[in-house]
Symmetry: C2
Subunit: 393 residues, 2 copies
Amino acid sequence: MNQAAGQIWVQALQLQGAPAAPLDGLRFAVKNNIAVAGCSSGCGNPHWASSAPMELDHAPVVQRLLCAGASCSGTTWMDEFAFGLAGENPWGGSPINPTVEGGIVGGSSSGSAAAVAAGWVPAALGTDTGGSVRVPASWCGLWGWRPSHGLVPSSGVVPLAPSLDVVGLLCSRARVLEQMAAVMAGGFSPARPVRRLLVIPELWTLLDADAAPVLQALQAFLADQLGLELCSLPLSALGLANSDALLNGFCALQWAEIEIALAAIPPDLPVGPNLRANRGLVAERDRSHLPGAQRLRQRLSSALAEELVDAFLLQPVTPGIAPQRGSLALDRQRCRVIPRCLTLNALAGLAGVPEVVMPLAELGGAPLALGLLASRGQDAALLQAAVALEQCG
Amino acid sequence: MNQAAGQIWVQALQLQGAPAAPLDGLRFAVKNNIAVAGCSSGCGNPHWASSAPMELDHAPVVQRLLCAGASCSGTTWMDEFAFGLAGENPWGGSPINPTVEGGIVGGSSSGSAAAVAAGWVPAALGTDTGGSVRVPASWCGLWGWRPSHGLVPSSGVVPLAPSLDVVGLLCSRARVLEQMAAVMAGGFSPARPVRRLLVIPELWTLLDADAAPVLQALQAFLADQLGLELCSLPLSALGLANSDALLNGFCALQWAEIEIALAAIPPDLPVGPNLRANRGLVAERDRSHLPGAQRLRQRLSSALAEELVDAFLLQPVTPGIAPQRGSLALDRQRCRVIPRCLTLNALAGLAGVPEVVMPLAELGGAPLALGLLASRGQDAALLQAAVALEQCG
């Protein structure tokens, strides 16, 4: 199975779910930073994997899915220690994007995304700090769910930046996403009525030139399908001068927390170039930006909460289709694909609100997605909307 | 209500739960760092409260209890920004311990503990980073639950040290604790059989001289009641040289995360002396201790997980009964009540495992408690044991 699926699986398993339970017959994969009993949480680094203890208990989120009848098919490769949105792993764990010739999968939940996109499983667990479920969902044409922060149990999951980390889900079908999400969360708050569909124009300017018209054309269509009034929301209404302020605030917070997570990795552990570079970024980060970032987060969260009382927010998840493999190394200054992804994914992270990725378009045969956000705890409303759009699409 | 209950309530409310649901008729209070729609999350600081936005949504954990039929009676005072285990608030929000003449309540979930102990409500939500649910439960003679880390939704809760923070519960009855806990968590993993009851002798040496014999006498009794074999576990088996190593590891991690939370408090906000002192501690902390603390946490977590596969762990929660009001100011060097509390409460925090506080003894009429710990996700087993002990006691 490992060979044929192309660096998707760390370990193939057959953990049978409870018989005659609602998710009976459904199989799922698990990113290798989420505890599965009998496996080590290798986090995409084989040296770490061989020194880490074997997990004795499933993470509660895995246990919930098994108790609900779903079966676990294995653990999946990921970007090393969940650093990165590319899905390229220096230890031979880079999966292939089955939907875009020569394209990257996206990460850091790369193996989980590839396992679903290749048809091995209908669903896979990932983790998402700055886009690690949403970006690969977008590039692989999958439905993806980033839950309200703290809603799905993070117990037994290796932390990266705890105030931003969530366990999320990638699925080939929105209906399956909704079913499994309810089990993962242990139930949802009741869905509130929604009247408006917001778009933040500045964030749509981050799209690639070829993707922009395709996705922009969907705004009115989706508002119509959902029966919502399309409304424009300037970034300034969230207390943000521009999209760079959003990115910088996110990065200041993320790096402050990542510094703590990095201290858990032994300094003599062999690691790849990306992780080495990130260690450098952490070491040289300017701590003086943190208070400003915290205040930005507070302003943004409460302003967004007010806007989302009767609304969803629609926005891009990635600037466009999956980039070609190996193209990102020289990209930091040029196309800025990764910084644009981080910017587009920062709002849900900073505000702790849920986001669903919807693979509703394509460009030259490659998938393109949009993200739909709701207020904190309104995951059920969001997932219902996704199912409605899958049915009408 | 505010007057009569003596600085317990920030705001009295009457939020009716869903009718004819399982928790119908049960009332609960909410610590004022957990979102209740229509209130501001004032975190025990009136200046912060007046500048913070009104919450528009309940935290999902509050919403779950309301949907299950319980009603919310109000928000409660707390140690300022959840700093402190004493329950003494500089802004007039120090509740009175109704069970110990002249004694402090303990904190930081002080108002929640006092509301239950005074009989205003049968249950109250608190938060616990280093003992903020467990210490006041112990000093007020309440049943307390610190969940497995990440099991109860932390969404809508003001963070302090996210890798340690949990939302917990204080109740006058173990049976109510069990009922509400299941709702808060959205369901539990199945309980595994348990064979042994572990005690770590070094931690029992932290008890006050008068409390030690009372609590030690319970070891064999409780093992017998639960049908478990009493076994000794040295701290060295968890990779710890002594109890100071446990305390130091906990503090290094806690302060690293608290530094980030503190950056969210505007520097010009008026704050009390305790918070000012803690700001100083954070500013002067030695960052070089963090990698060692992270490795201690990893060692300890995996060693404890192995021990708890077939066992509970029994240990003190506080050194003894509630100290007198005002006695802690001079205490840091002398009796070291707070450092001993932190040490006793560090294991569950560092390992992310659940702990139940059981008010099973008393000393001169004042309550004394013991804590029971289980492996990650085994909250159901722990709560069942608490109910069994309540019934036999």
